[in-house]
Amino acid sequence: MALSKINEVIRQRQSLLTEWVKGQLDSGVLRSDLISEVELRRESTAFLEVLSEALDKDPSLSFRQPAYRPVLNFLEELSRSRGKKGFSPSETAIFVFSLKQPLFTALKALHIKDAEGLANAVWEVTEFLDNLGLHTIDTYLVGREEVIRGQQADMLELSTPVVQLWEGIVALPLIGTLDSNRTSIVMETLLQVIVQTRSEIAIIDITGVPTVDTQVAQHLLKTVAAARLMGADCIISGIRPQIAQTMVHLQIDLGNVITKATMAEALKTAMNRSGLVVMRRAVPSSPTGLGTSALS
């Protein structure tokens, strides 16, 4: 009996919709900067339509039934689009939960002097709406995770360039945190390039690594050890002052790996080791005479 009444309530769409939209606008959680009232009204109308269709097919209110699939699809679509717009999970879920109040009010009007019937109806509706709400949040999170995974993949692709600085010297400027996943990619790329270019010295520049904790240091040492096994020496450069402090506080021991503050220093060391000398050649006298004017 309670079920048919819910159908009834949902079917009186117009009054319910007005109440609901008003409730959402008043809830204080709605991001009026992200969604217009017109759009909100359109979404709410569409949702009630889908819901009422589902209730016509299957009034059981058990949301796992195939008849409710369109309702779930609608919510999935909604939470995905809201997630993209920048809604928080609760701001997204409020869409479903805010339907409770107008529904309860309408049910109350239908169950005057029938406390038990009202209690039953309220319980069923609560359970149903809670499930829908949870489903919305789940989908929201799935959407978010997809975004995160996509970004991670992008970062991995972007962040492992190995550049040749000189004959026999390659550099690997690292940007972003080093986790074990990335370390293995970095390591593979570096070792491949070492073989290809027959480089004996690799400079790993960590200017772009935000923090160095024991984990990151471990990963760096692994890379250095692998390069050394191949017969190439590593220099770690780009250690910022704060990082030097943290490393000492955490008692991170980089062993006998050469470390330098800047890439330039590292390159100097590398060239020195390869027996290369950089010299400033005599500056040819400037044709305009500007170069010598200071002396005369």
Binding site: S184, M187, L191, V195, E200, K222, A226, R228, M230, G231
Partner: protein, 133 residues
Amino acid sequence: MDRIPILTMGHFLLVTIQVDMHDQLALTLQDDLTNKITSTLAKGVLIDISSLEIVDSFIGRMLGNISSMARVLGAGSVVVGMQPAVAITLVELGLSLTGVYTALDVEKGMQLLRRQIDADFYHLTTDGNFVEI
């Protein structure tokens, strides 16, 4: 029985591992190599593992052992041409072979070996040339 050939070249011994190592082969190599160092009084050992594609912890340790044994017998040693995959595997196994000299290829390995033993067997004359003692 399978053996890995050890070639003599002047003061040096060359070992080229071109088959997949199994434990017995590794042990035989250890025996042969130590014997050869003693009999030829070699000053350096170069182990080329550029064709070695599969390693396990045993082979990894063996590479370390061979270097230590050579050092005990008074010879320098260098491992050359390790494949990236092999290097990664060894590091993941926790074997970073500290104390083993490595080089990218045979050429650079020979240079390294020469430098290593130069200090012991040659001395620098005043005009900057090395002479054998």
